[in-house]
């Protein structure tokens, strides 16, 4: 009895170590200034300093990649939240059969491998003669983010009392006021989860970005790191950057998970 409990404890710890060791490894070695990975030369914040002051080799490339990543994620997830919410409202008003079909169609892009989404979008942009660059990457990110917003807003809509909009009108709200003061606030939790999910999806996308960024030298973080690694050896300043990104994502995840009980409770 006791032995099996110890065994299961060991099992879960081994599992967690295997899962988190690489991240912990990078985080630990971000606090030393050694250029080559795996050499501990004493605690130092130099890499962080370099990252933020920009005194490193090819620092402008890295910083612009970070800026691009954040900007693309922000634009894509904002537009996706808007489009996805509208789409969800539309889908929820369909007849049950059509609603099922639409929900199914909405799920396909999410389970579709990124590489296929990327290549097909690339071909589409070429076919339409759209110059590839910033615009195409943003469009592509909106494309794969929107279904996630729809997925998050739909349950909120089905929980919504169908009379709630009419109740607002009845109490003296104009149609615009009813939308602003009642419908949007009621859907807001779903819209926020959709936005956060879209943001993280956009942030770590590689395949789609790689195929839609064209040849103008646009880099996001993922494509930058990929190129950097191929040139031989990672830029040491990536270690603190990845640590920071990991922590940010961790915080975001915690936020999503703590708001979940409230959205499912109703």
């Amino acid at each position: 009895m006791k032995a099996s409990r110890i065994l299961s404890r060991i099992y879960i710890w081994v599992l967690l170590i295997v899962l988190y060791a690489p991240i912990v490894f990078i985080a630990v070695f971000s606090f030393t200034e050694a250029k080559s990975l795996g050499n501990w030369t004493g605690f130092s914040l130099d890499l962080y300093k370099n990252l933020f002051t920009g005194s490193m080799q090819n620092s402008s490339g890295l910083l612009s990649a970070v800026k691009n990543t954040l900007l693309i994620a922000l634009i894509a997830s904002t537009v996706a939240t808007f489009l996805g919410t509208l789409a969800a409202v539309g889908v929820s008003r369909l007849k049950p059969r059509n609603r099922q079909v639409m929900s199914f169609l909405n799920n396909i892009p999410m389970i579709n491998p990124d590489i296929i989404t990327g290549v097909s979008l690339f071909l589409l942009f070429v076919f339409l003669h759209i110059l590839q660059g910033y615009t195409t990457v943003v469009l592509a990110h909106i494309t794969f983010c929107t279904p996630y917003v729809v997925l998050n807003v739909m349950p909120k809509l089905s929980q919504l009392n169908p009379n709630i909009y009419e109740a607002a009108l009845d109490l003296g709200a104009t149609p615009m006021q009813a939308l602003r003061k009642v419908l949007v606030p009621a859907l807001r939790p779903g819209m926020i989860s959709g936005f956060i999910l879209s943001f993280t999806m956009s942030l770590d996308d590689f395949a789609v970005t790689f195929f839609t960024r064209g040849t103008i030298g646009l880099d996001t973080l993922s494509t930058y790191i990929y190129a950097d690694a191929r040139k031989g050896g990672l830029t040491p300043e990536l270690k603190p950057l990845m640590t920071i990104i990991f922590l940010v994502i961790l915080v975001v995840l915690l936020i999503i998970n703590t708001r979940k009980p409230k959205t499912t409770q109703q």
Partner: protein
């Protein structure tokens, strides 16, 4: 004096969804300060009527006036009416206080007055300590109180309530009925209340409007509606009743279940077929058969709390439902009598199925969306005719094979010794059938009529 003032006036209101007419030429007025209930089975058009008054829906035809002014072109947010919705429709992102203050804030009422009015209605609905609560943490009954408070805080001229108690359990519903009635008396606002629960309507209302299939069947006080139903639908829908075929022999004398009775109704003419309604509590039942109007044998006896409910087979082969404080064992022979004032005589809505049809050939006539075989002697092909079929001459089949047309049973009325069914054919026409067979509502039936039972007659010209 003010009680007789009409606050809402509805004229010739009609509304269709596709082919289905949900409101058919509704004319109705609502007096200021009264508690008016729209009562009917689901799909009778009561909610549609309420939604048109509230402004969420436009009628195809007709007019609605509020205090003498046309209302239909006013959008819902500008109408001085408020609605309590069936499933509360509270705003989930706002707490109790902000839900109630929603309408007042939109109207830019000063903050301190909002505060005063919200507290006042919270007290009225007995929810004073709940103002900071999240509405989703409240029970169904509490949410309904907040929904009522949110509506009445705006001091509407008319309060519309769409089955507000339907989602509550029985005990809570009874309590809320009493509270609603008290609230109505305290506020003096006109209430228009929609329900399918006849007991609720009888308890609450000053005026009941019974609706069925988009038409008003009867308007009256609860006692009028209960004691003097105008047709068998109302009699069947409101309370328990025995509805029987009878014949008005002369004024104040009616014959049914094989016996003649004194009654108080007159003006029907002599030997006219009528429907007779007897409430189960109005039949007096005794062990002693001597000197009673008729006799019977008790078949079943069920205890219902306050009274016993018995089914008695009468000497003439009819079945009557009787409610009495005393129990009579099944198998007992009993004597019964009915007081003249408790016999409600109604004009028959129809005595036979009548249709206008066309002779389509030798021995063939078309009506009710199908071609039927019958005798067409004396009629020419293509001639318009009136077709008449007795209720008892229509055969219903449980299969389509030998049927001429098909339909669904939409309404069943038990008449003591047979069922009077309303069957709706696929193109929406109705045929009424008397049968002793047991059918269920919504049963799919084949319809057949023997050629000899289809009677044709010349169309009566108006100018002749």
């Amino acid at each position: 004096m003010a009680k007789d003032q009409r606050i809402i006036n509805i004229e010739h209101l009609s509304k269709s969804y596709g082919d289905k007419k949900v409101l058919d030429d509704i004319n109705l007025y609502v007096r200021e300060g009264e508690f008016l209930t729209l009562l009917g089975p689901s799909g009778c058009g009561k909610t549609t009527l309420l939604r048109i008054i509230a402004g969420f829906m436009r009628p195809d035809e007709g007019n609605v006036q509020l205090e003498g002014r046309d209302l239909l072109d006013t959008p819902p947010h500008l109408r001085p009416l408020n609605t309590v919705f069936q499933r509360y429709a509270l705003f989930p992102h706002l707490d109790v206080y902000d839900n109630i203050a929603f309408g007042l804030k939109l109207k830019k009422v000063p903050e301190d007055e909002i505060d005063k009015r919200v507290r006042k209605v919270l007290k009225l609905v007995a929810m004073s300590d709940y103002e900071d609560r999240d509405v989703e943490t409240l029970s169904g009954g509490q949410q309904q109180r907040i929904a009522i408070a949110r509506a009445i805080v705006n001091q509407p001229k008319v309060l519309l309530l769409d089955e507000p108690l339907a989602a509550l359990d029985l005990k809570m519903r009874k309590d809320m009925q009493i509270e609603l009635k008290e609230m109505h008396q305290k506020l003096g606002i006109t209430f228009i209340y929609v329900t399918h629960d006849q007991e609720e309507a009888l308890t609450l209302s000053d005026t009941i409007v019974v609706m069925n299939e988009g038409k008003i069947q009867q308007v009256g006080t609860p006692t009028d509606i209960y004691n003097e139903p105008v047709n068998s639908f109302v009699a069947d829908f409101i309370g328990e009743s025995n509805i029987l075929n009878g014949t008005m022999l002369e004024d104040k004398r009616v014959s049914f279940i094989g016996h003649d009775f004194d009654c108080v109704d007159k003006g029907f003419g002599e030997n006219v077929p009528v429907d007779v309604v007897i409430r189960p509590e109005d039949i007096y039942i005794k062990k002693n058969t001597e000197g009673e109007q008729f006799t019977g044998v008790v078949r079943t006896c069920t205890f219902k709390g306050v009274h016993y409910e018995m089914f008695v087979d009468t000497d003439s082969g009819n079945e009557l439902m009787i409610q009495d404080y005393n129990a009579f064992e099944p198998g007992t022979t009993v004597g019964m009598h009915i007081h003249p004032g408790d016999i409600q005589v109604m004009k028959k809505e129809r005595v036979a199925n009548t249709y206008s049809g066309t002779v389509t050939g030798e021995g063939k006539v078309e009506f009710l969306g199908a071609e039927w075989e019958c005798r067409t002697d004396g009629f020419e092909e293509g001639e318009e005719v009136e077709v008449s079929v007795a209720f008892g001459k229509v055969d219903l089949l449980d299969h389509e094979d030998d049927a001429v047309t098909v339909g669904n049973v939409v309404f069943i009325l038990y008449k003591g010794d047979h069922y009077h069914l309303t069957v709706k054919t696929e193109d929406g026409e109705k045929i009424w059938v008397d049968t002793t067979d047991v059918w269920d509502k919504n049963d799919f039936v084949g319809i057949r009529i023997l050629p000899k039972d289809i009677r044709l007659s010349k169309v009566q010209k108006k100018d002749e």
